[in-house]
Symmetry: C2
Subunit: 238 residues, 2 copies
């Protein structure tokens, strides 16, 4: 209904864009939560739901992009409004990737449910909880146009990296102890990596929101704690 | 020099945008090639160069975004021009991720150079060669505004996924044979995954170019062969 949009005020349209992005963010959060729950509870039907639901996120990304392109063409926005639209396009891209990582984790959760369980999944739950909280805070910052809140999210990824490093080392140890753990541990490694990358994309989103509100960029390097995953772990007998 | 840009013709500016994107694409290609060369030759100084050069890609992404925002504000482009600008913004994001994956692979190549080598790296070389070729073809399609060429790239990722699956299975077997292989094989698994994701981003780039030229989207599902990596590999003794 194009007429509807022409009569609608520009402010209303920008509000609608923020709402679409918030809805996409909420769905991405839910995907991360459900993928993790499916992993922990070995719930393959929940995992299958997550995999299927991924198309909804892809669809929202396309809707946001189409809406942004129309706003750009019809409203020819300037300054802050233009930045909000550019940020919405870019962060929808990050949310799409987050959805992709969650769906990938859910696929691996299905495989893992058919294998003997190894180790504790507490680290995964803590990581997922943190990235969800950050993602929610980031999307709230977008809806409220709050640069300081975005900056707090941007700086909050360090604990996520630290948990990832712990999981990485623990899984390598399990693999070395018993080769029968290797397949499961490999899938778990990739899930942990997916969660870590979801954290990175959340940081990107926070940067884009900060830029949208303030018009300037955050410093290039954010606090990070992921270097130890490049360290060498040796088997006990090595 | 803002005056320079005001007198410059709009067509020239769009040409410049394509050139910036092509330069960024060329740099991303080189990063993939050098990261792989560093891995194969166990060349840690080349790997360190790749890691350091990543900031250049990040810098180009910011320049492209700033240039696009200025074009949107000053030129208020419509239709096809608007789509080219949106595509440039989005594909610069994919190129930034590609650079990130290449730098991550280079970091792991440094670790691997300190570990005994396992297996052949032929698969990695073939994968890297394919993704580079596709990336080059995609960026050429952007410079030449060629939707058919973009569509060919979009459909060409299947062999990349197939090689990834082969590497995945081989590395799991190495891990099961000898726990001393586990650390090296894990880093190699992540490098293979990075190359596979570089292939995915190249596919995204091809989609964006197709959209820029034609204004419509490619079908949602492209040919893919990556499902067998979710299969269960069991140790000989399991």
């Amino acid at each position: 209904m194009p007429t509807e949009h022409i009569v609608r005020s520009y402010d209303e349209e920008l509000r609608r864009l923020r709402d679409m992005a918030a809805r996409m963010g909420g769905l991405a959060e839910r995907q991360v939560a459900d993928a993790t729950r499916a992993l922990v509870r070995r719930d393959t039907s929940l995992a299958a739901e997550v995999v299927q639901r991924d198309v909804q996120i892809d669809q929202l990304e396309r809707e946001i992009e189409a809406f942004c392109v129309r706003l750009l063409a019809l409203r020819q926005p300037m300054a802050a409004d233009l930045r909000v639209i550019v940020a919405a396009m870019k962060l929808s891209n990050d949310l799409e990737r987050i959805g992709d990582y969650a769906a990938n984790a859910a696929k691996r959760a299905i495989v893992l449910a058919s294998l003997p369980s190894i180790g504790s999944l507490n680290g995964f739950e803590r990581m997922a909880h943190l990235v969800q909280e950050n993602l929610k805070a980031a999307m709230d910052a977008f809806v409220n146009n709050d640069a300081e809140a975005a900056e707090r999210v941007w700086a909050a990824d360090e604990p996520v990296d630290a948990i990832y490093n712990g999981i990485f080392r623990e899984l390598l140890t399990f693999m070395m102890e018993d080769p029968r753990n290797i397949t499961a541990a490999t899938h778990m490694l990739f899930i942990a990596k997916n969660l870590e990358r979801i954290g990175d994309h959340t940081t990107n989103i926070a940067e884009r929101i900060h830029y949208a509100v303030r018009g300037d960029s955050l410093p290039e390097d954010r606090p990070k704690a992921d270097e130890s995953a490049y360290a060498v772990v040796r088997p006990a007998g090595g």
